[in-house]
Symmetry: C2
Subunit: 202 residues, 2 copies
DNA sequence: CCTGTTTCTGACCAAATGGTTAAATTGCAC
DNA sequence: GTGCAATTTAACCATTTGGTCAGAAACAGG
């Protein structure tokens, strides 16, 4: 953090984190090996450990970076905006994240599946705090009759679940739709707009 | 399969599979160890390997058993039933499975996250076939105006995603709702009934 | 009982794993 | 270029891992 980095340090740390994201997102923390990450990064194993003190440190760094970008879309939900449009825009931003950052989504999914050993604090802290705040905003919109009544927390859960599904279960989605099928995201977006549009309609 | 099993064999194979489900569902295949499974099962490692030829065989057996029970709820979707009620009942059956068999749901999620190396054949085979069949039924209902129009496949995906979310991301759901909160399933069921009820309403 | 079969275990093995170290190589300011 | 710090690697280590094997216990059926 505080220390200034040389060009080489910056480049190699990025290379390592990128390779680690590849590996951790597919096999989870315990299922991944340093050799695998080193090979993916095109570096030697001792060289990895020159830049990071341990396997766990690499994983922790990835998760810590992730939490920030993960919360961004929700952060942008504007209490002063038009309620239905705001929620639909949030859903679209989340879906866009699944499309553009599927590895990050899977890294997160792996961590949660394993009981969130590394990021439970952030879940109960930052994530819960932001969710509480935005659920309150949504609740206000419902009470004002701007959108139809439903459970604000489960509404947010459903946005997370549905959008991340297209990253985490991508393999299944494509297999069921048929290998020859096109990109599933446009249809997904249209479907989700319909789904949430009807839910929120007054 | 064909061979008859002694009482001891049956009991121990069950014990092993149950312990393996605990471990595999939490850490994935590569993140799990035979020692861990043996310890959980209360058996020695060589004894595990007396009942199963390898770690992979245990995992394969679990996945194979899983596919059957996993498809059951969809199998029961009745083309002759009342469309909206049938789909909502299917959603409820899937949610019930997440509640009663969260380990199975996580085992499946882990497998898909890792690219479905073991069950890709079943995904492209049984699962796709059944999904195609039921999507066609739903499509028919839409064309007959029995339920509102939307994308049949993505409708099924959304049921899978939302219901399994309450098993796979249970830790996150409970953390965000607050540790003191009650069982999230009743609220989830009510929310999902509203969500799909409005989507399907004509 | 006795005997053959099933079940179980301690000891072991080769390979893989996370990590260390000392020495070699490279980059760079002067 | 020279000298020093930053970078890289070969060789190594202790532990863990999936799996084997020979024999010991437990369990039948007669």
């Amino acid at each position: 953090m505080g220390k200034t980095q040389t060009r080489i340090q910056k480049k190699n740390r990025e290379t390592i984190l990128n390779a680690a994201l590849d590996v951790f997102s597919q096999f989870g923390f315990r299922g991944s090996t340093l050799d695998q990450i080193a090979k993916t990064a095109g570096l030697s194993k001792p060289n990895l450990l020159y830049y990071f003190p341990s396997k766990e440190a690499i994983h922790a760094e990835l998760l810590s970076q992730l939490m920030d970008t993960w919360l961004d879309p929700l952060h942008d939900l504007d209490p002063a905006g038009e309620p239905k449009a705001e929620i639909l825009a949030y859903m679209r931003r989340k879906l866009e994240m699944s499309r553009n950052f599927p590895r990050e989504s899977r890294l997160f999914a792996n961590e949660i599946l394993q009981g969130a050993p590394q990021i439970m604090a952030a879940i109960k802290g930052e994530l819960k705090q932001l969710t509480d705040e935005k659920a309150a905003v949504i609740s206000g919109w419902m009470q004002d009759g701007k959108i139809a009544n439903s459970h604000p927390y489960h509404l947010l859960f459903s946005i997370w679940s549905l959008t991340q599904h297209y990253a985490d279960f991508d393999v299944q989605v494509r297999a069921v739709l048929g290998d020859s099928a096109n990109d599933p995201f446009p249809d997904a977006e249209h479907y989700l707009e319909t789904l949430f549009g009807k839910l929120l309609a007054t």
